[in-house]
């Protein structure tokens, strides 16, 4: 892997940028791997990267039905925060936050991580009480979060209106200053480049069609559209299609797949300094470095794999945006799209062993998985390498739906579901 540096940039800039090599190979699948990861999104690629760097396991394949980062990794609104209520969630998401802070340096790839602050607005008495509880719980867990008055919210985010004359006036907000955004594609590409350089095979356009098992029931090989690939362990990291893949392996899952929509405006000059989200009126907005307003909408109410949703869902979010930020009422929206997210009954992810020996699953991130990408990959790599969950992901087992130890995380996303 040729490292990016000031020297290499200067050299290439004098030579017409002709010397840059491909960032990862396009290998043919080998007969057999130690570990096969199903799903080449951010979480799957991060898992492969940490298997190679932390655990020294490089005989690994990441197989991806389409192209890497082409699913929810490339469709989300890139918001990063870790101010979750429960101890288990705070530990998981803050583990990711700590990795985000050094990620560009670690990967030698600019993921454009920007800690511009995430402000969650309160619009009613219940919001105020609930968010203050989050602030106190977060502080006990070492997660930064602070309460702002409406005037302090306005000072932090000048486009916001704190007028008393709107339908749901702002009554304050919880601010996580360490929260922010990152470039979603770069996260997938950076992990892919790092994993590939250490010997991981990234195999695109390769769909999983079935599973072969040993006489003792454990994983033997995975059947794909590019042939049978032998493996000792499998990690399924297939987001919205987890149910489909696990169905081909003969397992039902406690997840349902629903569309989640987002949209961007025409690009404008820097006008929005932070991330603002509001659960109560359902607004979710930031500005990309290209200048587009990036707006997250809600989920549709039904199971779907259509990667599109109802226009009334995005309309509802734009109503709230126009109410809270009146100067955006004349903005034009450029594009809207949908991703398919796998939602669990308690809105917390599953990083777990499964009933099939040596088959592991990392799914159920629902509407808020991007923010956890580095932490998710880090602890799932541990789970795959050792066969047992990391201390941080142990509570996020599949078995919790049997024992009843749910992690009922209402703060799992800004979107209501």
């Amino acid at each position: 892997m040729r490292r990016f540096s000031l020297a290499s940039l200067l050299r290439e800039s004098t030579q017409g940028h002709q010397g840059w090599e491909r960032q990862w190979r396009a290998p043919e699948p080998k007969k057999e791997y130690d570990i096969v990861i199903v799903g080449g999104g951010g979480h799957g690629l991060a898992t492969a990267y940490y298997l190679a760097t932390v655990h020294g396991i490089t005989n690994v394949a990441v197989i991806e039905k389409g192209w890497i980062g082409g699913g929810n990794t490339g469709r989300n609104t890139t918001i990063i925060r870790s101010n979750y209520l429960f101890d288990e969630s705070a530990a998981l998401y803050n583990h990711a936050m700590k990795l985000w802070e050094g990620l560009s340096q670690e990967l030698n790839y600019n993921v454009m991580f920007s800690q511009r602050g995430v402000l969650m607005l309160a619009h009613n008495h219940h919001d105020v009480i609930s968010f203050k509880r989050h602030v106190y719980a977060n502080r006990l867990n070492g997660v930064d979060n602070e309460w702002l008055s409406p005037e302090e919210c306005k000072a932090f985010c000048p486009p916001l209106t704190i007028s008393k004359d709107i339908r749901y006036p702002v009554m304050g907000g919880a601010l996580q200053r360490k929260g922010g955004t990152a470039r979603h594609d770069a996260v997938a590409w950076g992990y892919a480049r790092g994993a590939d350089a250490r010997g991981v095979d990234i195999i695109q356009n390769c769909e999983v069609t079935g599973l072969q098992r040993n006489p003792d029931g454990s994983v033997k090989a995975v059947e794909t559209s590019r042939g049978v690939i032998g493996t000792r362990k499998i990690g399924v990291v297939a987001a919205g299609h987890t149910g489909v893949v696990m169905g081909r392996f003969g397992l039902r899952m406690p997840v349902e797949s629903v569309p989640l929509q987002a949209l961007v405006s025409e690009p404008v000059k820097p006008v929005f300094p932070c991330v603002v989200m509001s659960n109560a009126v359902h607004a979710y907005i930031s500005q990309s470095d290209k200048g587009e307003l990036v707006i997250g909408a809600g989920t549709d109410q039904y199971v779907s794999y259509s990667q599109q949703g109802g226009i009334h869902v995005t309309n509802h979010t734009l109503d709230a945006i126009c109410e809270l930020f009146p100067q955006f009422t004349r903005m034009r929206m450029l594009r809207s799209w949908g991703g398919i997210v796998d939602v669990t009954p308690d809105r917390s992810p599953i990083l777990s062993k499964t009933p099939i020996p040596n088959l592991f699953v990392n799914c159920g991130w629902g509407t808020g998985g991007f923010k956890a990408t580095p932490g998710s990959g880090h602890v799932f790599a541990h789970t795959l390498a050792t066969g047992e969950p990391h201390r941080i992901n142990a509570p996020f087992s599949l078995d919790r739906f049997r024992t009843g130890q749910l992690i009922d995380e209402a703060a799992a996303a800004a979107v209501s579901h």
Binding site: M253, Q301, S306, G310, I311, H312, T344, R402, T403
Partner: protein, 105 residues
Amino acid sequence: MLLIDCPNCGRRPESEFHCGGEAHIARPESPAAIDDQAWAEYLYYRTNPKGLHAERWRHGHGCGRWFNALRDTVSDRIVTTYAMGAPRPGATDADLPDPAQVRSA
């Protein structure tokens, strides 16, 4: 937005309806007699198919009544609606229209 053919009121926009999730999930006859895994599967495990999905809808802003629908989760097109308590039309997916043809219809 879906257009949903309510068995009582006819075609109406989705915003008049509430989706009640997967249909034909029967509460266990004697909960005390089944183990925790079976209870978990009743409560939390879902078919979540990429294809035809039997699901419950309630026409809250119309007749107010529940009914079932069979919908293709790739095209979102509703193949048919039928009464609560009625069996799913077609014993298997093979007896029903091919989802691919439904999509192109």
